[in-house]
Amino acid sequence: MIVFLLIISIVGGILSIEGLVWGKFMVSRPVIFVPAIVIILSAMNFFHTESNLIILLFFLLSILIELRLLFTIPVGSSFVPDTITGTLGIFFLAALLPKRLDADNFYSILLFLYMMVFSLSYISGYFDVLFKRFNTVLVEYGKKLLSDGEFYGFENLSKFGYILFFVKGFLLTLTSGALIYLFFKLILPLLNSPSINKFSIVFLITVLSRFAVNLFIHWRIFKNSLLNFIVFIFIIIMILQFHTLGLLIMLLIFCIYLILEIKRFNNG
């Protein structure tokens, strides 16, 4: 088990480098790495639950975290929560408590983990700020090396950047995993209560609705285009389960939109 926890922490370190320092290939987004890890673990028969609920739990959690932080864009010196380490921490729970999940405590556990990951992302983001402040010292030192003509030393400093962020990712994944496990153990009797489960459903719907409002504002739905309004009507058609009709309407709208856009584009 310790080997598994170490592997998850190493993955945390590598993803921290990928997401914050080198490449940014989007592998470090929760909606990408969580399903990948879950699928690998389930292929190895790691989860001992009878149903697919634990897989669904991880999927929904990564979706909620991603939706919540979708519009926090890393522009300049803005504060961006670091979702990598907190989200990886939930796998500690999968390793240690595989059998304690059933349909009656599903939503309360989902809400608890969402809260935990969300707050740990902010804490991890704060550590990010501390590391970025420390980087100033390293870069000042790099300037000194450069003015002394020690280019080799200047280039070697880049390795420090990678090592720093790897260690940060590794340690924070380990810590957040341990914290999630401890809090989970403490709060489990409460999470099994049916009324808390019911409350969690309504609360999760409020979270989804807040996200929907952000989406409307971001894409100026109801302001500029009639087409976006039709999309909203489509949501209701889909929710009311007229799937085939909804799909046909959507395809029709998409074709009309495409033709209009191509015409507008050709007219300059």
């Binding site: 100033t136 609360f203 929907a212």
Partner: protein, 252 residues
């Protein structure tokens, strides 16, 4: 022979541009990553004393979108090879970084990333019981994103270096795609929200109409709060209180 060596060094510059965020700090921002990427070319062209003198002029803060930094590096490389004045190069760098950053932020972070996330969520909800298919679709989405990402890094560098100017035609194409991708994202998000509510329904007590009503009610409440109150804490508190009332009331 010299051309081959220059080609190798330019390849090194492109590869190093992937790590432009390295040692990011609040004072100089991406400056270290930028200098680290361009340094091999300086070492190829100039002597030690000249490099120290020239890089001293470059030592000012630098920040742009990481995916489009290769355009600035390409211009920088071209100007270095043409042996232009270092102050001129620095002026070019400062003039280009902000407009390119705004294009990169709106296209890559605002649009393309939202699209990747929306299709990933959609695939996760559709294929959650078929892991092989899910992995294939997620991988395809990631590949689609990274093809555009690498196209900008490699092709952008190559074209800018070859012609010695920014090819601004690409921005026009961007804005056409931006609209389409935004629209496609909203389609995928609508599908996803429908599937989310379907999953909620299949697991628990309520009928669809109750979920729908609560969902729509909270949307209107949040629009009202966003418009008139604007304080996140109060919105979350109000939502929590309403959720408690609904639970105690026994609606669910």
């Amino acid at each position: 022979m010299a051309k081959l060596e220059l080609y190798k060094i330019l390849k090194k510059v492109i590869f190093r541009s992937l790590g432009v965020q390295n040692l990011w700090n609040y004072r100089y921002m991406q400056l270290y990553g930028y200098i680290y990427a361009i340094l091999p070319l300086y070492r190829y062209i100039y002597t030690k004393e000249e490099i120290i003198k020239r890089l001293n002029i470059q030592w000012e803060y630098f920040n742009t979108h990481p995916y489009v930094s290769s355009y600035i590096l390409a211009m920088h490389s071209k100007m270095l090879i043409l042996n232009e004045d270092e102050n001129e190069i620095q002026r070019m760098r400062n003039n280009l970084m902000s407009p390119l950053a705004s294009i990169g932020d709106s296209f890559f972070w605002g649009t393309l990333r939202s699209f990747l996330i929306s299709i990933s969520i959609f695939f996760m909800l559709i294929f959650f019981s078929q892991p092989a298919l899910l992995l294939i679709f997620l991988g395809t989405g990631l590949l689609f994103f990274n093809i555009i990402h690498f196209y900008h890094i490699f092709k952008g560098f190559q074209r800018t270096f070859r012609y010695g100017r920014l090819n601004l035609k690409f921005t026009r194409k961007f804005f056409f795609f931006e609209k389409l991708i935004t629209f496609a994202s909203s389609v995928f998000f609508t599908f996803s929200s429908a599937f989310l509510l379907k999953i909620f329904n299949s697991l628990h007590y309520m009928g669809h109409y109750k979920y729908l009503l609560i969902f729509i009610l909270f949307i209107f409440i949040n629009i009202f709060f966003k418009k008139y109150i604007k304080k996140k804490g109060i919105i979350i508190l109000f939502n929590t209180i309403l959720a408690i009332i609904f639970t105690l009331w026994g609606i669910i």
